[in-house]
């Protein structure tokens, strides 16, 4: 078997030699030019690629693992909020409609005609907290894994079980991570009991307006978005009336442009009876 391979190698070498021998100098120049052009193309592609999407470099400051975890968690939270905001507070919408290629969860729904909707997400804020927590849990786990990988060799690392908690507050999202993290190098010991990430985002405020809309739709079969916007100009509310009595609400904060979408079906009236 090994012999055979050797034979093939020697054959190919002799083949190249024979080409060398056969090709005139003009042709060799042409090949050189081809090689140079090909190299330029490859390098250009790499440069363009790097310019378009810069390398994901997370600077690890050994003295500040908190900053590393916070930054890493922040990215996960941002990703979660982006999905939740589009989809009515669900990462995987359950009971939803499709509007503008997005699955949007119903926050209030009644399948029947003439009847007021039933709140599908009471405690929406807590629901979003849970959704964020579930979404970021594996990602934050990875953050710690990466941190450990980076520090291993230089530090002795001891970690504990991880518990995550997301708290939504006005204009703020807080993630509290309970996880023991101990770094030891010679005499130097650094011990962390937990980590915390705080992000300015109006998801609490947008969800609260969503709850207000749900309350009014379930009670009055209507929400007076213009009246609300006159009193609270910092928030914009758009209502899209779809077929089959479905409504999509888009609540946004005027200052940041952050949005929260959700769907409602309430007090549907049929054609005729």
């Amino acid at each position: 078997m090994e012999k055979g391979v050797m034979n093939r190698r020697s054959n190919s070498r002799s083949c190249l030699q024979s080409i060398d021998y056969i090709l005139p100098s003009q042709k060799r120049s042409q090949i050189t030019i081809f090689v140079i052009v090909a190299s330029i193309i490859v390098v250009s592609v790499i440069i363009i690629f790097l310019l378009i999407k810069g390398p994901e470099v997370r600077v690890l400051d050994e003295n500040n693992p908190q900053a590393f975890i916070e930054s890493c968690t922040r990215e996960a939270v941002e990703e979660a909020i982006e999905i939740l905001s589009k989809q009515g507070g669900d990462i995987k919408p359950k009971g939803s409609l499709n509007y503008e290629d997005e699955e949007i969860a119903y926050l209030c729904y009644n399948i029947n005609f003439y009847e007021r909707c039933v709140n599908q997400r009471p405690l929406l804020i807590e629901h979003i907290e849970n959704e964020i927590t579930e979404f970021i849990k594996p990602k934050v786990g990875n953050c710690f894994f990466n941190l450990e990988s980076n520090l291993r060799g230089r530090y002795e690392i001891e970690t504990g079980e991880m518990e995550l908690r997301t708290v939504l507050q006005p204009k703020t999202v807080i993630v509290e991570i309970d996880k023991g993290f101990k770094m030891t190098r010679n005499e130097e010991v650094r011990d962390f009991e937990g980590f915390k990430m705080s992000k300015v985002h109006p998801i609490y405020d947008l969800a609260e307006i969503g709850m207000k809309i749900v309350n009014q739709e379930s009670k009055y079969c209507n929400f007076d978005e213009l009246g609300h916007m006159i009193l609270y100009p910092e928030y914009d509310i758009k209502k899209f009336i779809l077929g089959d009595a479905n409504l999509v609400y888009r609540v946004s904060e005027r200052g940041t442009g952050e949005e929260f979408n959700f769907a409602i079906r309430s007090c549907a009236l049929p054609a005729g009876y």
Binding site: E100, V118, V214, K219, L231, P233, G272
Partner: protein, 1142 residues
Amino acid sequence: MVNRYWNRKAAVSYLEIFLLITSMFAFSYLFYEITDNLYGVSDGVELVSASSSVCCEETLSGQSCQTASSEACNPLFKISPTTCESTDYCEIGCCISENTGLCNLASSRRDCELSGGEFKQGAECNVQECKQGCCILGSEAKWTTEANCAFESNSENKDIFTEWRFDEDSDTELECLFNVEKDKEGACVFEDGGKNKCVYATLEECVSRTGSESNFDHEGRFCSDPELDTICEAKDHKGCLDDNEEVYWFDSCDNREDIAEDCDLFTGSYCGEENGEFICRDVDCGDIGRKNGESWCSYDGKIGDGKDPPGSRHVKHICYFGTERIIPCSDFRNEICVQEDSITEEGDFSQAACRVNLWRECLDHNKNKDKVKDKCGENPDCRFKHIDMGGSFSFDVCLPNYPPGFELSFDQNFFSEDEVSEDYYRASSGDGICSAATQKCTSTWKCSIFGCSCIDNCGCHGGGFANEMNDFCTSLGDCGGYINYVGDYTGGGYSVKGAPGVSADYKQYANKDDSQKADPGDVDFFQTIDPGLLPEIEKDDRNLSAFELELMGASGSYGSPLLLKILTSKNDSSVWGDLGNLAAGSIGLSTFTGAISSVSGAIAAQIDREDPGQPPDFSMIIAMVVATIAYVITQSIVASMIGALLGFLFGISWIITKNVYFSCLPWEPPDGGERCNECNSLDIPCSEYRCESLGSLCKLQNKGTGNEICLAREVNTTLPVITPFETALSEGYEYKDISKDGFEIVNASTNRCIEAYTSVDFGIKVDPFARCRISNNSRDDYGDMSDMFGPKGNHILPAHMTKMFFPNPEAFRNSYNLTDEEIVELGKWNFYVKCKSSSGKVNPRPYQIKTCINPGPDLTSPRITFTSPLQNTYLGFGEEEKDVLFYVNEPSECRWSNEDVDYSEMTNNFECETRASVFTQFGWKCEDTLDVKNNTKFFIKCQDTSENNNVMTESFVYELKHSNSELVIDDVLPKKDERIISGVSPTSVKLRLGTSGGAVNGESVCRWEGNGFGDSFRYEKSNGSSVHDYQVNLIQGKYAIDFFCEDIAGNVANDSTNFVVKIDKFGPRITRIYNDAGLKIVTAENAECRYDFKRNFVYENASKMIGVEKEHHTAWLLKTYYVQCMDEFGNKGGRIKVKPSG
């Protein structure tokens, strides 16, 4: 003269009419479900509810707690054979978050508890924990619950002074946002690195940041004030604040300073950035001449007077932040856009709202013939119409002012290879409602040897009849001959026989008229349609009714009225000082235009059903409504006709009558699809309904995605080809002699005529899909045919089917002295079918369907098809006689006896109809009054009128039941003279009745009425007792409620109650503070008082003062006390600061 109408020739005519009726072409499908159920009665089968609704804990599509068909439920979760409100797990109530303190209305117990919330009964959250008040969070104010206020103050960035208030000066969202005094801000100076730094903050924030109150400048100066000697330079740059309209100066430390430019959102400007500069930006919609916050309506064409064209939609527009937004009202004109214009100092200002179109109520008003004109007049969504053809064809009818739209196409999923869906036979709204205007006008002529002259209903034959009836027809909805919203007329929605067709010019109604507006209706009107919200008896101190309070309680509902108020009295600064009275009616109805569509009662009022706990059966509702209208009209006409005829009974003349028929059918869209694209304008989003109204080939693509587009389907110009529909044919029959021109229906076993008194389903397939009509006249064109082929004949479908009942001509042999030849002739039935495809093509040669009735002698005995009262019906307590009627499937004479004996031995005769012309859907009617005092079991036998005189061999056993006792209301809540005191307004009060006795242990239908309002109770049976609950939301006042119950046997029970609701919604006022061997305070009502030495304290954690009534005391310390008191209803008063001096 009489013989002329009761001879053999006439009999043939009657039988032809009879065929039409039995063929259920025009209306009988309305009763399909009813009859299907009722026919089972003679076999002792009980009526089964058509509804199979269950409570799904979760549906297959993931929604929780839905009352739906069992197929929609996810089998992995709970399913109960009742409505969700009757289950414990899906009970609807209020869910309170213990974390955020926010309340969630209309939440199911299941979802609430799964999310960790606290569940409370009452979907509207009328509980103290959910009472909203003014939350002061430092320099901001928020309208929210007390617990949420505490949550937000504890949040990370809010280490600030917090207070939650709900008192006379801060009990509306508006006062809270604009009038309640918040914490003042000022310079908070601190030293850092040897320099004086500064932040502009509240006292609490300053203390929190710097640890000392002395750093705060109580004068409220800016950081850049030279006297403060800070590093901050004044007026460094301009900028906007997140939640403020003004342009502000900011110092070099980025602290807010003076207003740089005074913007005013209410008058059309708001802080914004333009070309890198912060300025007051114009937010009015100058290009269309509308102000910011203004809303107005637009319409496709004529509105009101029953003239809204099919496909049209009311649209609301708003101008907000310089952009016009379009908000279409609900499709099918289920909502109308109402508008009210006001004159302000800056010109006209409009406010508009999409409000529920109460057209269903208009049809309901026809129930009460005597009050129809008054009731109709009170409802702005109705119009009263009087039709008079110059005599007895004269009636009043209440019709929708804004006719509703109907589905213009149907799912073609009625048919599968093996079966036809039951839904095919269900009455669709269009078919059902339109048929109310299908009428026959009979003109009466007096004849003598010199000729005939018309004496009654002479207008029937004129050109006005069709116009008048078509006006009636089109007012019912998308019915009759009319235009679509782009002005294309079609006449396929009506037919008239015996008079000229419609000649009115309808195209003018497609023209837009900007001056027209729909009437919003007044507050009184809206109060009458919300039975759950009793009207005020004593008005609230701010002169708001319960209805008004309800509307103004909705968040944001003050926005539009406030804007209008400011614009109408721009120079009057008292607007801001008098926000509390803004809603008190000073600007009239405009106060409510933004919120008027919020009337949930308007939704509930659309369906009048006896038991609110049961899902409605809409087919039944349509049938009932239409039957009511038809009955009222018929009664009016018959009564007048009898009067007219009596006048000639004694004259030397004779009378003849002529019939003119008007059929009102669903409106037909124009053929083809040339104008589909008109739906794709950007002004109004295209909907399926709007698209399909433009042409029968128009179809909406990308439905529900936000990218809808109306396109024409491919034109199929081939002529419709009709073939038999095998699946539709009843078992035991077959199609014979099938050709391209038709087929014959025969008995499969004999290959010959079918037996008399049988019902046969049959159908046709048509390619391309088409509408199909049927006639017994081979020369009729499609347009002349007034009868649809089956219940969905007027819809473009791949197949159509119908059901036909075949009587026996033999039954009329004796009555009309018919010969054998005539019997055979009468037994031959020929029908002719024509279909029209979506491209407008009609089969030129009629498709013939033949059948015949077995001409042999009638060998079958009669059969009782339906009884009224039904079998085993309960009799009222003490009832001794009962009027009974039943129907027989062929003309017969019937007798009854208390014993099961032969027909000849039965001595009691029923009065039975035997004429062909009086056939009904159930057969021929017999009636009598039975003596039920000592006996409730009766044996009935009938003998038909055929030559064979066939007699029932077995008696039909008819049994009734006695009620054991009187029906009694034995428990009423609230009790008489009860005083209900609550801390929240409106407060939820349960009207509750307990009933017993009667036919079935108190089971009954109950109603309540108070101040002219009323509604049915929700009924439940628990632990063997019958309980009736109804939740009402009441404001302060005296209430008198009457109760009426009736059980299945007609036993009735009445009772009444009166009670007082007292609302104590504010906390105790502290009226006196003094030192009397300690700190003493006096409250205006009994209370519990607590104090703390911190301004930001939590009441529940604070120290309790001694005393539970009006006097409270505690030790005298030289410290600053913060005191707050709470009354017995949980209302907390304002906090006061007490600073004892030595």
